[in-house]
Amino acid sequence: MIEIDDLRFSIAGRRIFDGLNLRIASGTVTAIMGPSGTGKTTLLRMITGQLRPGSGSVRVDGREVPALDRAGLYDLRRHIGMLFQNSALLTDDTVFDNVAFPLREHTRLPERLIRTVVLTKLHAVGLRGAARLMPSELSGGMARRVALARAMALDPDLLLYDEPFAGLDPISLGMILRLIKVNNDVLGVTSVVVSHDVEQISRIADYCYVVSGGRVIGEGTPEQLRHSDSALIQQFMSGAADGPVPFHYPASPYRDELLGGRS
């Protein structure tokens, strides 16, 4: 479904990807993990064609994304749903209108049928009763679920989740996990989940990639990664504060800095 080869990309002189390769098979739940700032969200934006790589190949369903023109890109995106980290709901529209938005834009369904589809999607995320609420009246977890209902509105083949568990309470988190799994098992949707949350994502991912320093440093099933020999992967999987990825951001010696150059 998704093939990325030798991806290289820099932004403002900073190298984000330096020869990244990965494969995501149809109908699987694939986790992209890695420390903050390794370009996981950037990778999702490359898959949707919002960003173009410096070099390398990004293929989705056999289509070379960077080579697509606007019409081709929009055609591809109609088969993709994306859950943004901050939900990205349209703040001036109700929950109902947010979920109805892609349906009204891309289909000629009568309003009666749109209502049925929207209520079905909202029911699936447990928020049918919140249809008339405004996004400002929702909690973070509810907003994430509405955004998921909107991402699922057109029954996409590929769903991209950008940090779907960030800032959620345990109940909302459990609901999102279950929804990702259900989408995958029942609807056969290919899911790509970008997350820091190793413990949670390991419960549902079929395959994981660990990205650091602009390339894939480890891959495998969650079980394989847990038994990896790599110190970096072990640090990441166990959540150790210090290790190959240092706790401290590069800085001058602590003593020198505190004494303001006097010693």
């Binding site: 109609r78 749903g81 349209l90 892609p102």
Partner: protein
């Protein structure tokens, strides 16, 4: 040499910005059919930019008209030509004050709202979400707002002018005792269709410029609270200067 390089850099920056505005305008024009196929999107924006600006436009128009009435009366009474007050007030409002002050008020009320709205939508990923849903934010968000402003400003200008003339009438005729018949007949005598055409051309140009600046600044704002704030400020500053420059250019061209 360093100073020269700095001037060169500034100049290059200004040219680059101008180029990006032109590119933005062309992209927006390309997306215009989408907005035109959905007239409701445009009418909502005419309501937001136009109807919701009515109070400030009418209040300002009335007071500006009253000031024109007072100043005009003072000047004409020295020449013993008070009867010309109606014509002078109408000409100054229709040709100059109406289009310019309306555009400046529009930038302050509706332009800043447009910039902040689009900038915030960008900062909260709403525009990105639309792109991923294969919906062009240029057509769905930017073009209807531009059209709303472009259509609303000439109507707001006409209302400003009408209320302004009433303000001048109130001061000149009701308070200062200028003859009622002379006020209106002199206006009818000296204001011709060319003056009204000049006002319409100006209000269209100012409406287009103010709306373009507002949507451009919002769309290119940094995705931070400070970025949106700065973009909103730039909308007012750039529109104000641009309107005054355009005013001189159009006036010199039409006179």
């Amino acid at each position: 040499m360093g100073r020269l390089a700095q001037i060169g850099r500034r100049l290059a920056q200004a040219i680059r910005k101008l180029g990006s505005v032109v590119l933005f305008l062309l992209t927006m024009l390309q997306a215009m059919p989408y907005a035109l196929r959905r007239p409701r999107l445009v009418t909502v924006q005419i309501h937001n930019a136009g109807v919701l600006s009515l109070v400030i436009i009418m209040t300002s128009g009335f007071f500006v008209g009253m000031v024109v009435g007072l100043q005009g009366y003072d000047a004409f009474s020295r020449l013993r030509q008070e009867d010309l007050l109606g014509a002078a007030a109408a000409l100054s409002l229709i040709k100059e004050l109406g289009p310019v002050v309306t555009a400046l008020l529009f930038a302050g009320r509706a332009g800043t709202a447009l910039t902040a709205e689009i900038g915030l939508m960008k900062a909260t990923d709403q525009l990105s979400a639309m792109e991923v849903m294969a919906i062009d934010p240029m057509g769905r968000i930017v073009a209807p707002r531009f059209l709303g402003g472009l259509i609303a400003v000439p109507f707001l200008t006409a209302i400003f002018n009408s209320v302004g003339i009433l303000g001048a009438y109130f001061v000149g005729v009701q308070l200062m005792g200028v003859d009622n018949g002379a006020f209106w007949s002199q206006m009818q005598e000296y204001v011709d269709s060319g003056d009204i055409r000049e006002g319409i051309i100006k209000s269209l140009a100012f409406g287009g410029a103010a709306s373009l600046v507002a949507v451009f600044e919002g769309y290119t704002a940094d995705r931070t609270a400070e970025g949106v704030g700065l973009a909103t400020t730039r909308t007012v500053v750039v529109t104000s200067v641009l309107v005054l420059i355009l005013d001189y250019m159009i006036t010199s061209f039409l006179l």
